[in-house]
């Protein structure tokens, strides 16, 4: 079946612009996660959705970052007034349920470059 998809795959933007990154999870997966991966680093947790609500936003690095999820499906991560330090690959993952084995399936990522 279809895996997690993300769009765009690459985004180049000028410093100060807003960007929106999209994630389509695996159908039926109620839990959705956003991570950031800086060059040569591991993944940093950003935010987690259970259904349409986000009980844990603790990883969002600043108030310029926000995310929403609608219809227990698509999620959008928005970065306002982008800065060069926001350049990274943004990965989305989904799982059937949070907790339990909670095997997370990752999308291909969006590579964001802020110039």
């Amino acid at each position: 079946g279809a895996g997690v998809s993300q769009s765009p795959s690459n985004k180049v933007t000028e410093k100060g612009k807003d960007v929106e990154l999209r994630c389509d999870p695996i159908s039926g997966h109620t839990a959705l996660y956003w991570y950031r991966q800086r060059l040569g680093q591991g993944l940093e947790f950003l935010i987690y959705f259970q259904g349409n609500s986000a009980p844990d936003k603790s990883g969002l690095p600043s108030d310029r970052f926000s995310a929403e999820r609608t219809g227990e499906s698509v999620s959008t991560l928005t970065i306002q007034r982008t800065q060069q330090e926001d350049s990274a690959v943004y990965l989305c993952a989904s799982s059937e349920l949070a907790g339990g084995i909670n095997e997370q399936y990752f999308g291909p990522g969006t590579r964001l470059t802020v110039t």
Partner: protein, 111 residues
């Protein structure tokens, strides 16, 4: 705060050799994951380890978990070039969904 440390961070091996990647973590956990990432690609799940003493094997890779030592190992047997990739371990604290990742081990297998 949960910390996950992998070592080595860089590993260059010859084909046919054996080696082990180590993953230490700082707090009680009941789930440990190993992922593989090829350059420019996303993460592929390799193993999920759920209990003390768990051992899983797939091809030339074998993962184990010692929850008392808070240590997991990923052992590579008779490496081949196709295993070249970055390997991450990730840990979820007991009763928590949030994964904390190590920095990854960049494995290069040379002919």
């Amino acid at each position: 705060e949960l910390k996950v440390e992998q070592n080595p961070l860089f590993l260059s091996m010859q084909e046919g050799k054996n080696y082990t990647i180590y993953c230490n973590y700082s707090t009680t956990s009941d789930r440990l994951y190993w992922y593989r990432q090829d350059p420019g690609k996303s993460l592929e799940s390799l193993f999920v380890l759920l209990s003390n003493g768990a051992v899983k094997q797939e091809g030339r890779l074998m993962a184990s978990l010692d929850t008392k030592a808070r240590l997991s190992t990923l052992h590579i047997t008779a490496a081949v070039h196709d295993l070249s990739a970055t390997y991450f371990c990730a840990v979820a604290p007991r009763g928590n969904y949030k994964l904390t990742f190590g920095k990854g081990t960049l494995l290069t297998v040379n002919p």
